[in-house]
Amino acid sequence: MYVSVKGGEKAIRAAHRLLAHRRRGDRAVPELAADQIREQLTLAVDRVMNEGSLHDRDLAALAIKQARGDLIEAAFLVRAYRTTLPRFGYSVPLDTGAMGVERRISATYKDLPGGQILGPTFDYTHRLVDFALMGDSDTPLPARDTTEATVAMPRVTDLLDGEGLIEAEPAGEAGVEPGDLTRAPLRVPADRDLRLQQLARGDEGFLLALGYSTQRGYGSTHPFAGEIRIGEVEVEFEVPELGFAVPLGTVTVSECQMINQFAGSAEIEPSFTRGYGLAFGQVERKVMAMALVDRALRTEDLGGAVEHPAQDQEFVLSHADNVQATGFVEHLKLPHHVDFQAELALVRQMRREHAAARAAREADAESVYEEAAE
């Protein structure tokens, strides 16, 4: 039997042309430019940069346009693009303590040094659709307060750390390079550095659901949002030819320090424990969920039993990457004609055997009945 394995090129070409046409939409409506997406759909851009695991606002904006707003498809495009580029090296670790703060809030201290800075937040909006945005909106310029000089904003966790009330975050050992899952496949159990790398690129919806599950009782950690800060940090890159770190510019990141209930032992005094979230752009929900899941994944390290999905490294880390997930789920729509023919033959054979077995059973029962009747 011959199976057709070629063909369809013409249909594929036409389908891609139709895709481009549908992407363009009604041609009476002006075409969307990538810089409009970069400037006005900034949070979609942030999400694509994180899940595409590549910081490049222009590229993410273009990918969103190409993907017709499908953010997972856009992340896929960004991931594919990054494979075409050489790796220059690693940055000096970002110093989020020296952030040019755009937003900074704490749910644990009302009057924390540096204050509560709301920044550009959806919080306290009424979530009513604003029909004024239908037309050209006449957006007023932001209010300004020029009375204050720059205020120092120490990390909330450092305030607790000063009293020894929260577990210390040990600095890395000199000469030990953090793991990099773009260089070696992820294996579980994984150390916390690798877990955080995987969570940072993980699907926001998946992390949100897992974080939520811990709050609903599937491995509760009694969390407080110790601090959320969003803003620009300097990026520096150690250039071997120069022998010093050169500044590359700034990126915006979001950071969440979740403070959770206690650890301790006969030897170690009780203290709060930490969950940490960090990601590109203004992605508050993502880093909060990430911090909840980071803490849940530390259950075993902190002496607890792994009983719930969010605590299970294999479950969380293997399913967090939506590019990987979409690849495997969506491969099901590719031709499986031959496999299916085999399954079809198998189910037919099973049905024949089933029918034969039933007929034999009935014949048996018949003869037993007849014998009994005699």
């Binding site: 590549l54 790796r87 953090p178 550095d193 955080l196 510019g249």
Partner: protein
């Protein structure tokens, strides 16, 4: 790609690599300005460059893995990559300049390298300062002041109710 001969640079410019060295910190400050400049703000550096500039490293785009620290202050981890463009040039005087900027703008990286080389060479620092660096630093400072004041306006002032005397 050919490794870049840094000994030649050091010999011709006398620039060291100790970050505490004031020459290095001044150079880093110029690089920081270049990294924050728009492509248009750096382009005029081409008018200051002599003829005969050699591209030691043709401008190219690649990736730098950005690192964070666990808990903000702990051990480093790999957060995600960023696009970075870089270039290296040598002026006829022998001064070597490097450009490294976030993003995919290779022309901007080469302009940043030219700026660095001219700064190292030192003969046109007055014009660099006047025509490029001073206006650039002023623009960046203005933007930063505006940003800080916009954000400061969203600082929460809690009303404190004072109970009793003193």
């Amino acid at each position: 790609m050919n490794p870049i001969d840094t000994t030649a640079r050091s010999a011709t410019t006398g620039v060291g690599s100790d970050p505490a060295d004031p020459t290095v910190s001044a150079r880093r400050a110029v690089m920081a300005l270049a990294a924050k400049a728009t492509a248009g703000e750096l382009r005029p550096v081409r008018d200051l460059a002599p003829s005969g500039v050699i591209d030691l490293r043709l401008a190219e785009t690649g990736l730098v893995m950005l690192r964070g620290r666990i808990g903000g202050s702990g051990a480093p981890f790999n957060l995600g990559e960023a696009t970075v463009s870089r270039a290296a040039v040598r002026l006829p005087s022998g001064a070597t300049g490097f450009g490294h900027v976030l993003g995919r703008d290779r022309a901007k990286a080469r302009d940043a390298a030219l700026l660095d080389a001219l700064w190292i060479e030192g003969t046109s620092r007055d014009r660099l300062e006047r025509e490029i660096l001073t206006p650039l630093a002023a623009r960046i400072a203005r933007d930063e002041t505006r940003r800080v004041s916009e954000v400061a306006a969203t600082r929460v002032d809690f009303f404190t109710l004072v109970r009793g005397d003193d």
